[in-house]
């Protein structure tokens, strides 16, 4: 089997509560489509041959890499032998094909490996979901995160990609200035800050909402992956989920059940957790960053990394 994806690296603008347009660099899913934050979700079957064709509409080299997955990177170096990119570059105006065979199911970042301290902060990241063998999107009976025997059957799945935005840094990098020190004042889930997180999915550059809408009794799989540069402490009120996988390594196997309940989950940069809970009684349940200086928009609470689990 083979699955092809095409990405275009482009400039764009996002909107955050209380700011004007914030320039960013992101991946678009079509030649005419807008750059988006995060990039388009890629969904692929385990062991598929995946080809990602990147077209670079930016004025400098970019790349795509697949951290957490097993593959052989092709770093690019300068004349002095220093890394300039952790994976093959795509030249400005050019296109390059990246190949990967995801060997295990889970949720992974794809992101630029070229000056990632700038390009990932600017938005060149997205999520690849690798489905286990036997997964059929049309048949809910087959919906598991990691396949049979991993305890990851679910009814509703939601991906939450966390990150931070330093608007000054964005302005300066977009203007071609040297990067300022990283000092984020905006904190995002799926490219949006609260209250925009609770708006529905949409078109445009910030397409993914983060409101989790479920029915009481449903099994909910929350897949949290941190594309930011700092750790976050994801806090649930009224719900204590069970951690079923860390970094897409399931914790329950035939030999041992290492899954555990936890109310507030610390997630380092580049890490992911798959959390499972049964939707409780109808009501609204808050989910937010217990690093309370990240549950704000600039200096204002509420904001930032916060959303609602809405049970009906």
């Amino acid at each position: 089997m083979a699955t092809n994806f095409s990405l275009w690296a482009k400039t764009g603008n996002i909107s955050l509560p209380g700011t004007g347009p914030v320039p960013f660099w992101g991946f678009a899913g079509s030649a005419a489509g807008p750059a988006q934050l995060p990039g388009p979700h890629m969904e692929v079957p385990q062991n598929d041959n995946v080809q990602v064709i990147l077209t670079n509409d930016l004025g400098f080299p970019v790349s795509v890499m697949f951290p957490g997955q097993e593959f052989t990177p092709q770093p690019a170096r300068d004349s002095g032998g220093l890394f300039v990119s952790y994976n093959s570059e795509t030249a400005p105006g050019g296109a390059f094909s990246y190949n990967l065979t995801p060997g295990r199911p889970g949720i992974f970042l794809y992101e630029s490996g070229t000056s990632p301290e700038k390009q990932v902060q600017m938005g060149l990241y997205g999520v690849m979901v690798v489905r286990p063998a036997g997964f059929d999107p049309g048949n809910p009976a087959t919906w598991t995160a990691y396949g049979p025997g991993t305890g990851t059957e679910y009814d509703v799945e939601k991906i939450l990609v966390t990150g931070e935005i330093d608007t000054n840094l964005h302005q300066e990098l977009a203007a071609g200035s040297p990067a300022a020190e990283f000092n984020p004042g905006h904190f995002i889930i799926n490219g949006r800050s609260y209250p925009d997180t609770t708006d529905p999915d949409s078109g445009g550059g910030q397409p993914y909402g983060s409101r989790v809408s479920v029915t009481s009794g449903q099994r909910v799989l929350l897949r949290i992956i941190n594309a930011g540069f700092i750790n976050h402490n994801i806090r649930f009120l009224g719900i204590t989920p069970r951690v079923m996988a860390g970094d897409s390594w399931p914790l329950l196997s035939a030999g041992l059940d290492k899954s555990y309940e936890k109310n507030t989950i610390t997630i380092g940069s580049g890490q992911s957790y798959d959390l499972l809970f049964t939707a409780p009684a109808a009501g609204q349940y808050m989910l937010y960053d217990r690093n309370l200086n990240c549950s704000v928009n600039d200096n204002t609470f509420p904001g930032g990394m916060m959303t609602v689990i809405e049970v009906v």
Partner: protein, 401 residues
């Protein structure tokens, strides 16, 4: 049982060993008292129905969230309703949960509210503000709840446990350490009614149970710290099982490193690390205490068997060839042996009592064991191992409830 707990939300001052006095907001257990940090300990039993009423005297609304509890209700006078986020007329979130308004708010909610939940699970939990928490939690509106297992019986060793009989959480002594940070500039801004700029957050003090070292090592209810009633000194005898409950009350993660031995982590956020008969507990020598999280762990120090008749295999130099008490004080006995006292240099105050051993417990982000840059200070205390039979009966943590 039904537990009725009354808290007042008010302000006060806490003392820092460098002489600074910091304005705080906090909880207290009687009308008219100044606020304390952390809030009063709440100790209840599994299965109890817990009613926590708060009376707000602050100039803004406040609330309490109970992470890890389920089915919390709130009652502002018209009967209990499921607690949940509150919005203004424009649909803007104003509080993570139902709140007590500030007194005298025209057309506002009452300044009192009662939260109710059933303590379904044993463990260590946090309670803290859910209204402007970026400010109110930093100002001191946080505390801890201990839920005893339903079969808890401190008189029966097999039932003196954190999570119930046969959960391998028996303990001889228990301690609770709630950690946090203080940015004095933000506290001063609140005191003076200036803008509260969380983006400028830059802590200068770090606390255990609301105190910075060396005050952490002082006893509970030390008279000169009326609003910081809880000491953070950990005391035990050799081979005892010491249950240490950490809670992250601040907004940063802190790596706490005990000298003397590893700890075994037995529960996270009040969830026992067991699945059926499978035990998921593990040993660590540095525990990263995440903001808003709790860690229950068991520490035991057994020593290496040295005593004057089984002497250490090295020669102790003469005192004048050693540095002792550089800070002007020492916890050392002057002897390498437990229960023995030796000489310490003239001019150095030894706080050692009966030849007990002291092992430091501290944040390994080392600037956090200073008071605004001055070592020793901050998020640091000692585990004191007393000679067998000298420490007396083990008390357990008591609190409201």
């Amino acid at each position: 049982m039904i537990r009725n707990i009354n808290l007042w939300v008010t302000d006060g001052y806490i003392s820092i060993p460098d002489g600074n006095s910091i304005y705080i907001w906090g909880y207290t257990d009687a009308a008219g008292k100044r606020a304390q940090v952390p809030g009063p300990r709440i100790v209840v039993n599994q299965g109890d129905v817990v009613n926590i009423s708060i009376t707000n005297t602050l100039p803004e609304a406040t609330s309490v969230v109970f992470p890890g509890q389920s089915g919390v209700t709130a009652d502002t006078g018209s009967g209990p309703q499921p607690a949940g986020p509150k919005y203004d007329g424009g649909g803007n979130l104003v509080s993570l949960t139902d709140f007590a308004d500030y007194p005298g708010n025209p057309g506002g909610n009452p300044p009192t509210i009662t939260y109710t939940f059933t303590a379904h699970r044993p463990g260590t939990f946090i309670y803290e503000s859910g209204t402007n928490p970026h400010k109110q939690v930093q100002m001191g509106l946080y505390g801890a709840i201990i839920v005893r297992p339903s079969d808890y019986d401190p008189a029966v060793p097999a039932k003196k446990t954190a999570y119930g009989e046969n959960t391998h959480t028996e303990f001889d002594r228990e301690y609770l350490v709630v950690v946090s940070e203080i940015d004095p500039v933000l506290h001063q801004a609140v005191e003076q009614g200036k803008d509260y700029k969380i983006r400028d957050f830059l802590p200068r003090y770090w606390t255990m149970n609301g105190r910075s070292a060396p005050d952490t090592m002082n006893s509970d209810n030390a008279g000169y710290m009326p609003n910081q009633p809880y000491g953070a000194m950990i005391m035990a005898e050799p081979d005892e099982k010491v249950l240490i409950r950490y809670a992250g009350g601040g907004i940063e993660n802190h790596p706490l490193h005990p000298h003397g031995n590893h700890t075994r982590i037995v529960a996270l956020d009040g969830s026992l690390l067991k699945n059926g008969t499978e035990d998921l507990s593990y040993k660590k020598f540095t525990v990263l205490v995440g903001a808003g999280q709790t860690y229950d762990q068991v520490f035991t120090w057994s020593g290496l068997g040295y005593n004057p008749s089984n002497p250490i295999p090295t020669v102790m130099p003469n005192l004048r060839n050693l540095g002792v008490g550089d800070a002007g004080w020492t916890m050392w006995s002057g002897s390498p042996y437990l229960g023995e006292k030796g000489d310490v240099p003239v001019g150095v105050t030894s706080f050692n009592q009966v030849g007990e051993y002291h092992f430091m417990v501290h944040s390994h982000e080392e600037m956090q064991i200073t008071n605004w840059g001055e070592f020793p200070g901050g998020m640091m205390t000692m585990i004191a191992i007393f000679p067998t039979g000298t420490l007396g009966d083990a008390g357990t943590i008591e609190g409201l409830g």
